[in-house]
């Protein structure tokens, strides 16, 4: 079980958090000016690195805040970004 540092509450066990996938996925818009390709890329295409990944996590069973952290998908080494 990973230990994740919530920028507001400090280190807490992984079970208090919800994973929200890749952190930065700019939302294309407005809806009537987005191509099918761009929209499907936004909906479905994500990086799948072996190594460092920026991820969104929510301290759902705690303060409820969403934040981003860098996790190494191979070693689980984690670094939380400061309060955004």
């Amino acid at each position: 079980m990973m230990k994740i540092t919530c920028p507001y509450c400090g280190p807490r066990p992984e079970t208090e958090f919800r994973w929200g996938g890749q952190a930065v996925t700019p939302r294309p818009g407005p809806h009537d000016q987005v191509s099918d390709e761009d929209w499907s890329a936004y909906l479905f295409h994500r990086d799948n690195p072996k190594g460092e990944m920026h991820e969104a996590w929510c301290h759902e069973a705690g303060c409820g805040a969403w934040f981003t952290l860098r996790r190494d998908t191979l070693t689980h080494a984690i670094e939380t970004d400061p309060k955004a």
């Binding site: 079980m1 990973m2 230990k3 066990p13 992984e14 919800r18 929200g20 939302r27 294309p28 818009g29 407005p30 809806h31 009537d32 987005v34 099918d36 929209w39 909906l43 969104a56 929510c58 759902e60 409820g64 805040a65 969403w66 689980h76 984690i78």
Partner: protein, 959 residues
């Protein structure tokens, strides 16, 4: 009778006599015995039957290394299958049985299988039972190969989960674990020392060699005293570390061997020390699985710790100094050693009781009687102790993802010093005896220095000294199908060779094909021998073969321990509304919906549930009905940007909603799929109440938070889930207004002042109240919300006030009948993971919206615009006596293909016929068409019609 109790020795209390039964045979033991040691002392020879071939098996180990003595104990609630007899504490009245044997372990009929063993090679089942298919044979084969049966009653034991954070976790309280802990305790570390045994000390409990020139018992007692007396130290016995997980978390199963209370503790440690010892390897020779043949460490442990000799005439086999030292210790304990077979001496050499060469074959029928050696000569004995060399126990270290290396000098897979996420110390780090004590101390210093508790002394780490013996492969000219490598899963040298012949080269593939190392002992005793056998056969080095990955748990963990307190009613606490008791008194039949206990119907005495539902659905449209709508999701969204935010969330336009007004709202996921619906009300310019379906309240709340925080953090808006803060009563029916007026509403609720889809914030008998004029039944309806804590009396007040208005309580089922009559969709009935708004008739509503919103772009996908999508329609049976079965498929007669299904249906008491809703391909353009419904072999003819079967003009709503 082979094993017996020695006249002296052992850490047992000979004054206490304990009686138990092992496989039908009465056995006697003492306090301090395990089931295995007591049975061995009582003369038991057969401790189990092998997994596949049902060969008789004796003890091979003395702890978690045991592979043969698997027993079921207890009965009824206390029944527990598949325990290692070496891990069961001897208690009075204990009844242990050998599971996969009939009629008993001593005389197992299935042992006849051994005659056919040539057919039972690796892969036999896969190759043989493939026609017509494996699943036909699987149950019988599983039974034959079976372990103990699963218990049938509910486990009465209690299980708790615990958590703790420490500076250092030391796993294993043997020589190295104790010296390491002592250093850390003295340095003031916050230390947790755990050991899976019920007695601390590891090998010092039976090995009589002095440690650092002290007698083991005195050394152990003094060291433990120092550790225990330190202020920040905690020591746990019966605590087995079963897995190491991410970020230094270790799961420890604390299970006293005869207790009914268990704990599963997750420890988070800054440093972890694995002083987990080493496991002895068996020797490979013909019939090496005969009862009477066990590991040397086990033979020594039985003698030293339990005062039990493994046989009357005991032989030792192995090589080198370790072998002779062991013989000397056993002599001292009073064990009758009749032969020492030393492979360092040439074949044929004899010198008193010392014989040169190796064991070629064991002889005996169901138990060992003699050994044939590689040189000339036989040795008569009833017990053989195998000294095959030690394998560092690095299972837990491998859980971290680290890969061990084969060290050809030490003949073992070992962990690298240094680059490890956890420290290994002592035998686990290939340092044994006094070196283990010194190594534990050195690791203690290193960890203390890493924690800045004390400086690291300038001393090198002691060198590796493991008494490593070259792995002795099976002697030449033996029959490989008589040499067992994995005792637990019945895997022989011949199975490994045939796996190699068939092209399984990767050790991981060999493991899965032969099941080697896949038993609950995780290949503790078999792994290294298997790798060596393969490397020998394939002519490559053991390093090239590599080892399989050890995975958690290190030993079997009870399912109850994993569940902890999260079971039964605590798994998912049930919520009850303010009016639960009031409804119970009225005969409510409660069911659980999304963790809410809700009334499905109110049965009168002698009435069936079906009749109650029909009566309620009929009566509400005549008089007035009370419905407990408290579980409906209620989320307050507030702030200057609330309207803008919700307009981006809902599929339809929300920003034009005026304060005091309500509007139906539909939510889509970003994929354009219908996600939730409900009434959105604007209480003031910057306060909205988002209504959600009952089951989705929490999900929608978190979803709103996610959109706000991740996508539009610039919007000044906040949200609060107030579902449980408000109790909501939906008053439905033509008499609803009269009833509500009688309840003391402060304000005008006439049709002119409060028309349909309007709200009023007011008071009822002094309590704040929110009244929403919305309806899911198609009747005049007021949803009245009061603070949940102040609402309790409202239910009975309303019943009393409506006595002359034909008032009745009604449940969810009747509400469902009424909404189907009206053709209102229900999320989850009409919708699934593919439904877009257009499918359920909201295409225009979304199209008309000018602004972007969640999922908007996805409604423009070519697939979402397909014309042959399934669309919501109404159904009526052509023969009004026919019912419209829920889930029936609408089948095209020509193509015999399903084009959709009945998504909701009910008998309508008001219309005297069945009403139904369906999702049907291209359904909206097929109004008036006749279709066939297929249901369990029946065919019913139905007509496609408008979803709304009752009051299409909505006159009843506008009363």
């Amino acid at each position: 009778m082979s094993g017996y109790r020695l006249p002296k020795g052992g850490l047992i209390d000979r004054q206490t006599v304990i009686n138990a039964v092992f496989d039908g045979q009465p056995i006697t033991g003492h306090s301090g015995d395990t089931l295995a040691s007591a049975a061995l002392a009582s003369g038991v020879e057969v401790f189990g039957r092998s997994f596949k071939l049902h060969r008789p098996r004796g003890l091979i180990g003395h702890g978690l290394d045991e592979a043969n003595a698997i027993v079921d104990v207890g009965a009824g609630d206390a029944f527990e299958p598949n325990l290692k007899a070496t891990m069961v504490e001897m208690t009075d009245g204990l009844n242990a049985r050998i599971p996969n044997a009939w009629p008993s372990g001593q005389r197992d009929m299935a042992a006849a299988l051994a005659w056919f063993d040539r057919f039972l090679a690796a892969g036999f089942y896969y190759k043989t039972f493939k026609w017509p298919n494996w699943h036909l044979f699987e149950p019988m084969i599983r039974k034959m190969a079976g372990m103990g049966a699963a218990p049938e009653s509910i486990d009465p034991d209690t299980y708790l989960h615990g958590h703790c954070e420490v500076d250092v976790l030391v796993i294993g309280a043997g020589t190295a674990g104790l010296t390491c802990s002592k250093v850390l305790a003295e340095a003031g570390a916050n230390l947790l020392l755990v050991d899976q045994d019920n007695c601390l000390g590891g090998q010092t409990l039976w090995n009589s060699d002095p440690i650092e020139a002290e007698q083991p018992e005195a050394w152990r007692t003094a060291t433990l005293d120092t550790i225990r007396s330190a202020r920040r130290t905690q020591v746990l016995e019966n605590a087995c570390a079963v897995g190491i997980y991410d970020h230094g978390s270790v799961v420890i199963d604390v299970a006293p061997r005869s207790a009914t209370a268990h704990r599963l503790i997750t420890v988070r440690a800054q440093s972890i020390v694995l002083a987990t010892g080493a496991i002895e390897r068996p020797l490979l020779f013909e019939n090496n699985d005969l009862p009477g043949i066990m590991l040397g460490s086990a033979g020594e442990a039985y003698a030293g710790r339990y005062g039990v000799a493994s046989g009357q005439h005991v032989a030792l086999a192995g090589r080198g100094e370790a072998l002779h030292r062991r013989a000397a210790r056993l002599d001292q304990m009073g064990v009758n050693i009749t032969a020492i077979i030393d492979a360092n001496k040439p074949d044929g050499h004899t010198d008193g009781r010392v014989f040169g060469g190796r064991v070629h074959r064991a002889r005996g029928d169901a138990r060992l009687t003699s050994l044939k050696l590689t040189g000339a000569g036989d040795v008569d004995c009833d017990s053989l102790l195998m000294t095959g060399g030690m394998t560092p126990n690095i299972h837990l270290w491998c859980h971290t993802g680290a890969k061990p290396n084969y060290d050809p000098d030490l003949h073992s897979f070992i962990a690298d010093d240094g680059s490890t996420p956890a420290w290994l110390a002592g035998d686990a780090a290939a340092r044994s005896g006094d070196a283990a004590a010194e190594d534990g101390r050195w690791v203690g210093y290193a960890v203390a220095a890493a924690l800045s508790l004390r400086p690291m002394p300038d001393a090198p780490r002691p060198p590796k000294t493991l008494t490593a013996l070259p792995i002795m492969g099976s002697p030449d000219d033996v029959r490989p199908n008589r040499v067992w490598v994995d005792f637990h899963n019945d895997v022989r040298v011949s199975d490994l060779e045939s796996a190699a012949d068939e092209g399984f080269v990767s050790v991981e593939h060999v493991k899965r094909y032969t099941t080697l190392g896949m038993a609950t002992d995780q290949g503790r005793t078999s792994n290294v021998n298997a790798v060596h056998t393969l490397s020998d056969y394939l002519g490559v080095t053991s390093k090239e073969i590599g080892t399989t990955r050890f995975r958690p748990p290190f030993k079997p963990v009870r399912l109850g321990a994993m569940a902890g307190q999260e079971r039964a009613e605590l798994l998912s606490p049930l919520r009850r509304t303010a009016w639960h008791q009031a409804q119970l008194a009225q005969g409510a039949h409660f069911e659980d919906y999304a963790n809410w206990s809700r009334a499905s119907a109110f049965q009168k005495p002698g009435e069936t549930v079906e009749a109650a539902i029909q009566r309620e659905a009929f009566q509400v449209r005549k008089g007035v009905g009370l419905f407990d709508a408290s579980p409906l999701g209620k989320i307050e969204v507030w702030g200057p940007d609330a309207a803008d935010f919700l307009n981006r969330i809902y599929a339809n336009t929300i920003k034009t909603l005026k304060p005091g007004k309500c509007r139906y709202g539909l939510m889509m996921s970003e994929h354009g799929v219908v996600f939730d619906d409900g009434i959105c009300s604007r209480l003031s310019d910057d306060l909205f109440l988002v209504g959600t379906t009952s089951g989705n309240a929490n999900r929608v709340y978190h979803w709103l938070e996610e959109w706000h925080q991740r996508e539009w953090p610039e919007l000044n808006v906040g949200m609060t889930n107030v579902t449980e803060q408000w109790a909501t009563m939906a008053i439905n029916g033509p008499n609803a207004r009269t009833l509500l007026e009688r309840l003391g509403v402060d304000g005008d609720i006439s049709n002119e002042a409060l028309p349909h889809m309007n709200l009023l914030e007011t008071q009822i008998t002094g309590q704040p109240a929110r009244i929403f004029r919305v309806s899911f039944s198609g009747e005049l309806c007021f949803e009245v919300s009061l603070p949940a804590k102040a609402a309790k009396s409202l239910w009975q007040d309303a019943m009393d006030a409506g006595a002359d208005l034909e008032v009745l309580p009604f449940g969810i089922e009747a509400l469902m009948v009424m909404r189907i009559e009206k053709g209102f969709l229900h999320i989850g009935s009409e919708t699934d993971g593919e439904t877009v708004p257009a499918d359920i008739g909201f295409g225009r509503m979304v199209e008309k919206k000018k602004d972007d919103c969640v999922g908007r772009r996805s409604t423009l996908r070519p697939d979402a615009l397909r014309e042959d999508r399934r669309q919501m329609v109404g159904l009526r049976a052509l023969n009004t006596a026919d019912r419209l079965p829920l889930g029936a498929h609408i089948v095209n007669e020509a193509s015999q293909r399903s084009q959709g299904w009945v998504s909701s249906s009910a008998a309508s008491p008001t219309l005297n016929r069945w009403v139904g809703l369906a999702m049907l391909e291209n359904g909206r353009s097929r109004n008036g068409e006749s279709v066939w419904l297929y249901n369990h072999g029946d065919r019913i003819k139905a007509e496609i019609c408008s979803p709304c079967a009752l009051d299409p003009e909505g006159k009843r709503l506008a009363m």
